[in-house]
Amino acid sequence: MATTVLEPTMTRTAALAKRSVLVDWLTTVDHKKIGIMYGAWAFFFFVIGGVEALIIRAQLARPEATLVSPEFYNQLFTMHGTTMIFLAVMPLSAMFFNFMIPLLIGARDVAFPRLNAMSLWVFVLGGLFLNASFLFGTAPNGGWFGYAPLSGRQYSPGPHMDFWVLGLQILGIASLAAGVNFFTTILNMRARGMTLMRMPMFVWATLITQVLVLLSFPVITVALILLMADRLFGSGFFVTAMGGDPMLWQHLFWVFGHPEVYILILPAFGIISEILPVFSRKPLFGYSAMVFSSAFIAFLGFGVWSHHMFSTGMGPLADSFFSLATMLIAIPTGVKIFNWIGTLWGGSLQFKTPMYFALGFIAMFIMGGLSGVMHSVAPADLQQTDTYFVVAHFHYVLFGGSILALTAGAYYWWPKMFGKMLDEGLGKFHFWTTMIGFNLTFFPMHFAGLLGMPRRVYTYPSGLGFDLYNLMATVGAFFLAFSILVFMWNVIKTWRSSERAPADPWGGATLEWTIPSPPQEWNFDDEPVVTERDAVWGMKRAAGVRMLPEPVAGDGKGIHMPGPSWWPLVVSLGILSFFVGFMFDKPWAFPFGPVTVFGLLLTTFAIFKWAYEAPDAHATNH
C-alpha cells in the first residue's frame, strides 16, 4: 500500500534529506526511480547483447571465416539470446510497468514498493552474474534453450551452463516477485471509477503479461532446478543412461518458452494501443475486442508449446493439434492489427516520432506474424525450424515488434519520465536508420534460411548460396548499431538541453498527462477520479478545452510516502550469494557450502528486518 498516515518524525525526515544521491538510489522504493533504473540497466544489457550480435555478424559476413573461435561463437549466441530476452526486452518492458502503471491507474505507488525494489536489484545482480561469466572465459555455451543432454554435465563440463542455470533462476525470482506486485497493484489500486473496462490498454497488457509470468515462470524454475540437480548433484532427470528423457526438458522449456514469447510482445501491443489513439486524435478502435484478443492470445499461448518441437517426431495427431492451435492465434492477432488500422482510419494523424515508431511496428509486425503462420504448418516447419528463416521470423517479432514498440514508448513517455522532450529531428533520423538497418539485417535471413542455412552455426561453407545474404545482414547489423548510436546521441543532447517539457506535450488521454513532468514523488496531489475510458480526453471535453491548464506543482502536504529501505538490496545480495554458492561450494559437501548457507542466512535475516522495519513513512513536504 502506497501511503500511510503515521506521523513522521522530523528528525527522520531531516536525515532523509541529507542522504547522498547514491544512497538515495540504492534504497529508493519510489516506483519512478525504480523504473528509470530498470531502463538504464536494461539498456546497458541491451548494448552488451548488441555488441555480441555485431561480433556474430562479423564472423558470418564471409563463409569459412575464423574471426572468433567456435567456442566463443557458441558463447556469443547463447548470451545474445539470453541477454536480449531476459536482460533487455523483459526489463525494458518492466521500466514502463514500473514508471507508468501507477500513473496510468492514478495510484501513488505500487502495492509493495519494497518488493518492487527487490525485483529490480535481483534482476540487476542476476544480469551481472550471468555476464560475469565472460570475465572467466566461461560464458554459457549451450544455447538460450539449454537442450539436454548437451546442457548436462557430461557434455557441458565446466561452469558455463552453471552460470546459465543459476542466473536464470535468480532472474526468475525477480520476474515472479514483480508479477505478484503488479497483478495486485493493477487489480487493487486503480483510481476510483476506473473499472477494468476503463483501464488504458497498456494496463490491460501489463495485467495479462503478469498472469503469463506467474503461470509460466514456475515451470521453467522447476526445469532449471532439475537441470541444476543433474549438473551439480549427479541426478539423472535428463540422463538417458539413468532412464531420464531429454524430451521432458523440451516440454518443460517450451511450456514456459511460448508464453514467454507473449510476455515479450504483449507489453509492446499495449504501448502501441496507447500511442496510436493519441496521435490519431481518436479513441482506440474496438477496445473490448483488443482486451479479449490479448486474453485469448495469452490463453492460447499455453496450448501451443509443442510447435517448437515438430521436428522431434511427435506423430501426426499431435502435429495436427499443435498446428491448428497455433494457427488460431493468428485470428486474435489479426484482430489487433485491423483494429490498429481502424484506429488510424478517419483520424487526424500527427506524425511525431512516437507515431513513426508505432507505425513502423505495425508494418514490421505484420511480416513477423505472417512468417509465424508459416511455421505453424507442421510439414513446412520441418524445413524451417532451426534455420535462419526462424531467426528472421523472431527478429521481426522481437525487434520489429517489441523493440520498435519500446522505442515508440520511450519517445512517447520520455517527457513524462525526465521532463524533457527528445529531439524530433534526431528521432525521425533514428527511425529511418532503424528501419533501413533492421530490414537490411533480417530480411535477407529469410532467404538464407529457405536456401538451407541452419541456425547456430559458427561458419558455413561457400558454394551453398548463403554468402550474399549473410554479407547483407552484416552490413545491416552495423547500420542498425549506428541507429542505436543516433538514439544515444539524442538522449545525451536532450539531457544537456535546458528546455522543459510541458505536462501534456502530445494531447494525451490518460492520467499521467494531468501531472507535472517529471511527476512529484507522490504523483497525484489529489487522488484522481475516473468516469470514463480515455479519462483525460473526457476532462478536456467537459472543460471545453483542447489542453488542460499546466498543473502547478503541489507541496505534498499531508501525503505520506513509504520511506527508503536497505533491506530489498540486502535480500537481493543474499539471494545472489545463495545461488552463487552452488558454483563455488562444489568442493564442499552440498548443501552445506558456506557461501550458500551465508546467502540463506542473509536472506532470512534481511526478510525479518524488512518485515519488522519501522513503518517509516516520511512526509514529502520536507
Partner: protein
Amino acid sequence: MTTTTAALDHHDHDDAHAHHTSLPIDNRKLAIWTFIGSECLFFATLISTYLVYAGQSVKGPFPTDIFSVGLVTAGTAVLLFSSFFVVMALDGAQKGDRKKMLTWLSLTVLCGVFFAGMQVYEFWHFYHLGLGYSTNLFSASFYTLTGFHGAHVALGTLWLATILKDAIKGRVPPKKALNLEIAALYWHFVDVVWIIIFPVVYLMQMRS
C-alpha cells in the same frame, strides 16, 4: 521462497488506515492468493515430473522396497489437523480471544515441527537404506518433490512461529489478524499440496 516477502511486507500497510482498494480485498491477501496461484504451477510441474518418471528408474531401490506408509500417514494426519488448528487460531485472533489464539497457534506450529521432523527422519532413514539423492530417477524425483514441499512446510512453520512470538508479546490485536490470516492461507495451500503428493507418491507406489 522470496516471493513470500510480499506477504511478510506487512508494514507497508497500516491497518489503522483503510486505504481505498479497487477490489474488496486487502492488497496482501490478494498478493498471497496470486502467489499461491503461481505456486500451483510450481508443484504441478514437480508432481508431473514425478509421475512421468514413475517406474522409469533403471535400478533400485524402488518405492515398494523402501516406503513404510505408517509414519508418513501419521505425518499427513498431523498436517491435516494443523489446518484445522490454524483456523481456530485465526478465529481467536479475529475475536480478540488471546488465549484461544495462542493455544491453537502453538499447536499449529508444533504440528509443523512434527511434520518437518518426520520428513527429516524419513530422508535419513531412506538414505541409510541406500536411497541417496542421485541413486536413481525415483530417488531424485522423490527427494526433489517432497524436499521442496518440506521446505515450504519449514518456511510456513517459521512464519507461523514468528507470528506466535508476536502474539505472545501482544502484538497481534484483532485489527492485525490479517497477518495471521495470510500466513494461514499459505499454510492451507501447503497442506493441500500434500494431500495430492501423499496418494501420488506413497499410495500409488509405482515400480519398474
